[in-house]
């Protein structure tokens, strides 16, 4: 059996859970596993209904006062009990920030292997392997789990398409699972999530975006990119290191910790294409990458690429655009 752990916040299902379900269905097919179960922890009656309606497998609801606000200690304690009760062969989740926060502790407590950030399933039926990026996406690794079961796998967001879910013939049953949690064993006391400030720019609405990365070298060079943005009628955006350095405000950051965008045109200037950036922009319709490193992972998602010095190419593009 494959157990998928769904994710919710404030009762709302994280959309990445649907991708994890698709990954789990493909893993089931590859590994010859016939049944799937979905567990959801916390105050999540509506999310459980939504999951059950998809009919992909029995939905286990794990409710307890200690699980109302997410804390890693509470999730580890509760889900360890669910897993011991269910004895799945695989435990599958989306590789979200929340999964990164508790799954390594959960797997360690159960003395089970954990493979994170998987993008594909390979290997034989009796010994599936998983593809995952290494070295900032410069290499792909095929890895195999070692040691006792169950095997935990988190799948990269965007690696599987939610619309490929094979829905069941009818709704699945919902079964509450009782867990015992010693409230004093939950050491983290979380406060309410908040957003830093209302966003001044909503990059998700921009038709065109010019994004800069480390290759821009200094804050003083930003006008080079801004001139191209002006010529294209584009918004300016950046990868994380640029916003970390304070060269552009955080609200212009694209990627897993910033905004997710899918404009008509995305021009990446001097962006190497770490996965944290790619997940925020790879849905763009046309992607242009300009980078001096021909092996930069950004070229894997680009439709058009120029390998070269952006400080020569970008002004030439501006000149060309202004000719028309």
């Amino acid at each position: 059996m494959i157990l998928v752990i769904a994710e919710q916040r404030g009762g709302e299902l994280n959309r990445a859970t649907w991708e994890a379900l698709v990954a789990a269905q493909q893993l089931a097919k590859r590994a010859g596993v016939s049944s799937m179960t979905v567990a959801i922890a916390g105050d999540a009656a509506a999310a459980a209904q939504e999951l059950a309606a998809a009919g992909v497998g029995e939905v286990l609801t794990v409710a307890h006062p200690a699980l109302v606000s997410y804390a890693p200690d509470g999730y580890v304690a509760a889900l360890a009990q669910v897993i011991q009760l269910q004895s799945p062969r695989f435990v599958v989740l989306a590789h979200t920030y929340q999964a990164r926060d508790f799954v390594p502790a959960l797997a360690t407590r159960l003395n089970a292997p954990l493979i994170t950030d998987a993008t594909a399933i390979a290997g034989a039926a009796d010994a599936p392997t998983f593809m995952r990026p290494m070295f900032q996406g410069k290499l792909a690794a095929e890895v195999k789990p070692v040691g006792g079961g169950p095997c935990f796998v988190t799948f990269q967001i965007g690696a599987f398409r939610a619309d490929q879910l094979q829905r069941g013939g009818g709704p699945s049953t919902i079964t509450p699972i009782a867990v015992t949690i010693d409230a004093s064993a939950i050491r983290q006391a979380p406060e309410e999530p908040f957003q830093e400030a209302a966003r001044a720019v909503d990059l998700s609405q921009a038709a065109r975006i010019v994004a800069v990365g480390r290759g821009i070298k200094s804050k003083e060079q930003l006008p080079v990119a801004e001139a191209l943005a002006k010529a294209l009628g584009a918004e300016i955006a950046a990868s994380r290191p640029i916003c970390d350095s304070g060269w552009l405000p955080m609200e212009r950051q694209i990627g897993s910790s910033g905004q997710t965008v899918a404009p008509k045109l995305y021009v990446a200037l001097g962006i190497s294409g770490a996965i944290q950036h790619l997940v925020g922009m790879k849905g763009s319709r046309t992607i242009v990458a300009i980078n001096k490193d021909a092996d930069a992972p950004i070229f894997e998602v680009a439709d058009y690429g120029i390998v070269g010095d952006l400080f020569e190419i970008v002004p030439a593009m501006v000149a060309e655009l202004e000719k028309a």
């Binding site: 390594p104 360690t108 292997p113 890895v143 908040f194 490193d293 070229f299 894997e300 680009a302 970008v314």
Partner: protein
Amino acid sequence: MKIAVCIKQVPAREWQPRLRDDKAWIREQDVSYEMNEPDAYALEESLRLREKHGGEVVVCSAGPTRVQQVLREALARGADRALHVEDESLSSADASVTAAAMAAAMADEKFDLVLTGLQSDDQGHGQTGVVLAERLGIPHSTIIMEVQIEGGALRVKRELEGGWFQWIAMPLPALLTIQSGINQLRYATLKGIMAAKKKEIRKVALPAGLQAGQQIVALSLPSRAKQTQIIGGSAAEAAKELVRRLREEARAL
């Protein structure tokens, strides 16, 4: 405050990957190494906490002999002393082995706070910190953007996805994985570099029998998701051709 910072030595950013003949690991003889960037932010945060609260910063790394370079660098930036779990096999160890090795080295030290970067720029499992907390039996929180300590209690700002944050309180001792960009990094001064030469790097043997959670079958260059059209020529020619294709083919302008 007795603070441990875990750092890893990883291939430098401009490294071009080359594989060993068996494809199960990289050709290490070609690699120039540097401090894992998220760990540099964890180190900086520990130095700032020591400046505010006093105490000691101990930098820890599990790796082959070569990792002494990043330990020295951390000492030059201001760490007080270092722990080095030294074994050649650790260069390609997974998070389970690395965390277990660190846990064994740290067991007697009784640190108040352990900081790590949120993930490494080499294998990138994003697990070592959380597994280490579990092994040490201390609470943890991840992807931290601010650390407050008052009267023996910890309050941290955790980054959630999509621009959301959350404050979390927890008792000490605790482990935090630090997000890049939490602070502005300092660099070593000449005085720091000189002082680092006299600081202690204590070597610790790798405990026997640590079990890996996974094994690399093979490494490869990633397959391209798209057929990228690479446009060549001089800068002016390439720019002109790109603008033409964006107008006529992609109709993106």
